[in-house]
Symmetry: C2
Amino acid sequence: MTRRKRPPRSEPRIIKTKVRGVAVHHFGVVNDPRGNLIASEFTKHIPFLPHRFFMVFDVPHSEMRGEHAHKKCHQFLICLKGSCTVTVDDGRRRQSIRLDDFHRGVHLAPKVWCTHEHYTRDAVLLVFASHFYDPADYIRDYASFRTLVNRRYL
Amino acid sequence: MTRRKRPPRSEPRIIKTKVRGVAVHHFGVVNDPRGNLIASEFTKHIPFLPHRFFMVFDVPHSEMRGEHAHKKCHQFLICLKGSCTVTVDDGRRRQSIRLDDFHRGVHLAPKVWCTHEHYTRDAVLLVFASHFYDPADYIRDYASFRTLVNRRYL
């Protein structure tokens, strides 16, 4: 018997990374000859309610985006088209995750430093954010970020 | 002077359709050589907070999806890749909208009958829903839908 590559329904899985506050969510897929479906519920699967979303696209391959952390805002990133690399850092550990598939997303709790880079030409990154846009919520200086998060370890 | 095709920032616009409770939202775009950005805020621009999202993909071209209305749930549809046609119906008026671009989305208030069809092979439709999944919120019979909405006009 050959193994079915696409079962009628695959269950969602959440895989914690080594970086504090960061998990990769593999969405469940309902396979149906009339069209396949991915569904996810906020607060149940993704641990916040989004107040904002944004999409980043037409990013030159050499460009680095992100390069900040949030004080309060949770984020959830899905690469809808193409691919890009997200690097997350809790001040102690760092991990890079290649996003190349809309079947999974990455949850970032607040106080995670995040950069995205190596966007393919066609890449579109969708981000759900738990809060409205607030410039005061951004930590844009890595040294300040390290100082803030290391307080937690003292 | 030639007209700039891509200004640094295009303002969002909301265009009501002839169907009650349905509007097309053209997102504003922030053009930046480091990458372009579309952003939208729930409750401010899109008139609800999403509790769920789903993505529909691999839909055969001949297939018709949707074919229901919701009693309470708001939805917001964005075609992320490829294209599809969304037909909306308030029980009195009907309109078809071709979605072929993630720069815009369609808001459907509750009590709008909606079908989607003519999906291209690569099409991915993203839907934000104001409520958790609840089978009791679906109206799947067109005659019942007509009865329900026509009560409002009496």
